[in-house]
C-alpha cells in the first residue's frame, strides 16, 4: 500500500513533513556543532575531526548520502506539489487577500528556492571550498589518524570576514528560519499528530525553532564581523603546522575544479599572513 500512499496528496504531505522534520533535525545538529566555535578552535576542529573520523570515515559519507536523498525528496515533492497546486487554480482572483496566513506560510516555495541556492553556495563555500578566491584559510592541521584536516575554525572565521558573505548568510538564515517557522508548525498537522487541545502549543514550535536557527546561525557571522577569531591563525599557532606542500595544494585545487565549482583559478595557496 505504500506506493499508492505516496502517490496521494496526503501521503506526499506526510513525506514533505517527514523529510522536513529530518532536515530541520540536521539543521539543528549542524547548528549545535557550529556553535562550538564559541568554545574556541580546539572544540570546533575536534568536532570536525570526529565527524570525519567516525566509522572509519564512512559515517560522514553515509550521512551525506542520506541527507542528499532526503533533501532531494523534499525538493522533488515541493516541485510536484507546487505544480499541482498551480493547476488547481488556473484563473486567479482579481483581489487576493489573506485572513490568517502569515508571509512565511504563503512563500514556502520562494524561501525554499532561496535555501536551495544557499545550500549550493554553502557547500561550495565551505565543504568544497570553491567560491572563496583567497582561500587563504584552507589550512590543514595535523590530525590524529590522518596527516591533515581542515582548520574549520580558521575557515569559518576567515570566510565570514567578507561582509558580503556574512550578510548573505544572515539573509539566508532568516529565510531558512521563516521556512522552518511554517514548516515546523505544520508537522503536527501534516503528520496527523495535532489534537484540538494541543494546537495552540504546537503552533509555537515553528516560531521557536525558527528563532533558534536564525539567532544561532546568524550569531556566527555576526560575531566574526565583530572580531571573533581575529587572532586565530597567528604565526605561533601556525608555526606548529607544516605548511601545505605545493603538491597537495595543487591536488586540492584540481579536485575542486573538477567538481564543477567553477571557482576562479587562483595563484595557489598562500600562507596566511599576520
Amino acid at each position: 500500500m505504500v506506493p499508492s500512499f505516496l502517490k496521494s496528496s496526503l501521503g506526499r504531505k506526510y513525506a514533505m513533513g517527514f523529510t522536513g522534520l529530518l532536515l530541520v533535525g540536521f539543521v539543528l545538529g549542524h547548528l549545535a556543532g557550529n556553535l562550538l566555535i564559541f568554545q574556541g578552535p580546539e572544540a570546533l576542529n575536534g568536532y570536525a575531526e570526529f565527524l570525519e573520523e567516525a566509522g572509519h570515515g564512512m559515517a560522514v559519507w553515509i550521512a551525506r548520502t542520506g541527507l542528499l536523498a532526503i533533501f532531494v525528496s523534499h525538493l522533488v515533492l515541493a516541485f510536484q506539489l507546487r505544480r499541482e497546486n498551480n493547476r488547481a487554480r488556473q484563473v486567479g482572483y482579481d483581489q487576493e487577500s489573506a485572513l490568517v496566513s502569515n508571509w512565511a506560510s504563503r512563500h514556502m516555495f520562494l524561501t525554499g528556492l532561496v535555501i536551495l541556492v544557499f545550500v549550493i553556495y554553502h557547500i561550495c563555500h565551505f565543504t568544497l571550498g570553491v567560491t572563496d578566491t583567497s582561500a587563504e584559510w584552507r589550512v590543514r592541521l595535523e590530525g590524529k589518524n590522518r596527516p591533515h584536516y581542515v582548520d574549520v575554525y580558521a575557515m569559518v572565521t576567515k570566510g565570514f570576514q567578507d561582509p558580503r558573505v556574512s550578510l548573505f548568510y544572515c539573509f539566508c538564515q532568516i529565510l531558512l528560519g521563516l521556512h522552518i517557522w511554517h514548516g515546523a508548525s505544520s508537522w503536527f498537522q501534516s503528520l496527523g499528530i495535532n489534537r484540538s487541545a494541543w494546537r495552540r502549543s504546537t503552533s509555537w514550535v515553528g516560531p521557536i525553532l525558527a528563532l533558534v536557527v536564525i539567532v544561532g546561525n546568524c550569531a556566527i557571522p555576526i560575531s566574526v564581523m565583530g572580531g571573533l577569531g581575529m587572532s586565530h591563525g597567528a604565526p605561533s599557532h601556525l608555526g606548529q603546522i607544516p605548511a601545505l606542500t605545493l603538491k597537495e595544494s595543487e591536488k586540492q585545487r584540481d579536485l575542486k575544479n573538477s567538481m564543477g565549482g567553477g571557482a576562479e583559478k587562483t595563484g595557489g595557496f598562500s600562507i596566511p599572513k599576520e
Binding site: M1, S8, S9, N85, A88, V100, S190
Partner: protein
Amino acid sequence: MKLNLKIWRQKSTTDKGHFEQHPIDGVIPEMSFLEMLDVLNDTLSAAGKENIAFDHDCREGICGSCSMVINGVAHGPTRGTTCQTYMRNFRDGQTIVIEPFRATAFPVLCDLVVDRSAFDRIQQAGGFVSVNVGGAPEGNSVPISKVNADLAMDAAQCIGCGACVAACKNASAMLFVAAKVGHLRLLPQGEPEAKDRVKKMVAQMDSEGFGNCTNQYECEAVCPKEIRADFISLLNREYLGASVFPRPM
C-alpha cells in the same frame, strides 16, 4: 449608498470571462448582499439585459448554495455565508469586486455560478454508512459519548459551500473532506467502514484536481460553520492508519 460593482461575467465554462462594471445607487444598509444583487438584476431585466447569474437558495446560511468571493474574501467581509452578508458592512462609494469561487475542480458555469459536483462525487465515493432502511437497530442500543457526538456534530455542520476551497491558495478541499470523514469517524456507526472510507474519499478528492493542504488555515477562517482545521489533522492521521495498516493482521 452608491457603490461601484465590478462583477465577473462569463457566459459558459468555455467562455473566457471578463469583469463588468455596474454602478448601483440607492443601496441601503439593511439590504443583504444578495438583495443588492437582486436590485441590480431587476434593473438589468427592465433594460432587457441578461441577469447576473449567482447561486443562492435558503438565504439563511444553511443550504450552502451561495458562493461568491467579495473583495478577495470567500463569502465576503463578515463571518458566515454570502447571503448573511449585509450592506452595512460596506462604505458609500466603495468599489466591490465580486468573483466566483475559483478552482479548477469548480468550473465556472455562468457568471458567479460554479459547478461544485466534485463535492458530491467525493461523498459518493464513501461518505456514508452502508445501512439499508429496515436494518437499523434500536437507536439507543449503542451509547455514544457526548464528547464524540458533539465533535461529530461540529464536523457534520459543514454546509458544503466550498468556501474552504475558494479561500485556499491551493484550492484544496481538505477541510471539506476532513469534516466529512471526521463526522463519521467519530461515531461508532461509521467505524466498520472507516478505513475504506477515508482512502476512497481522499482518492476521489485527488482525482478531482483539488490542490494540497499547506496548513495556512485560510479555510478555517472563512468557513461559515467555523469548522476547525483540527479535523484535517484527524483526516491525516486516519489516512496514514488506513494506508499503513489497512487490515488488523
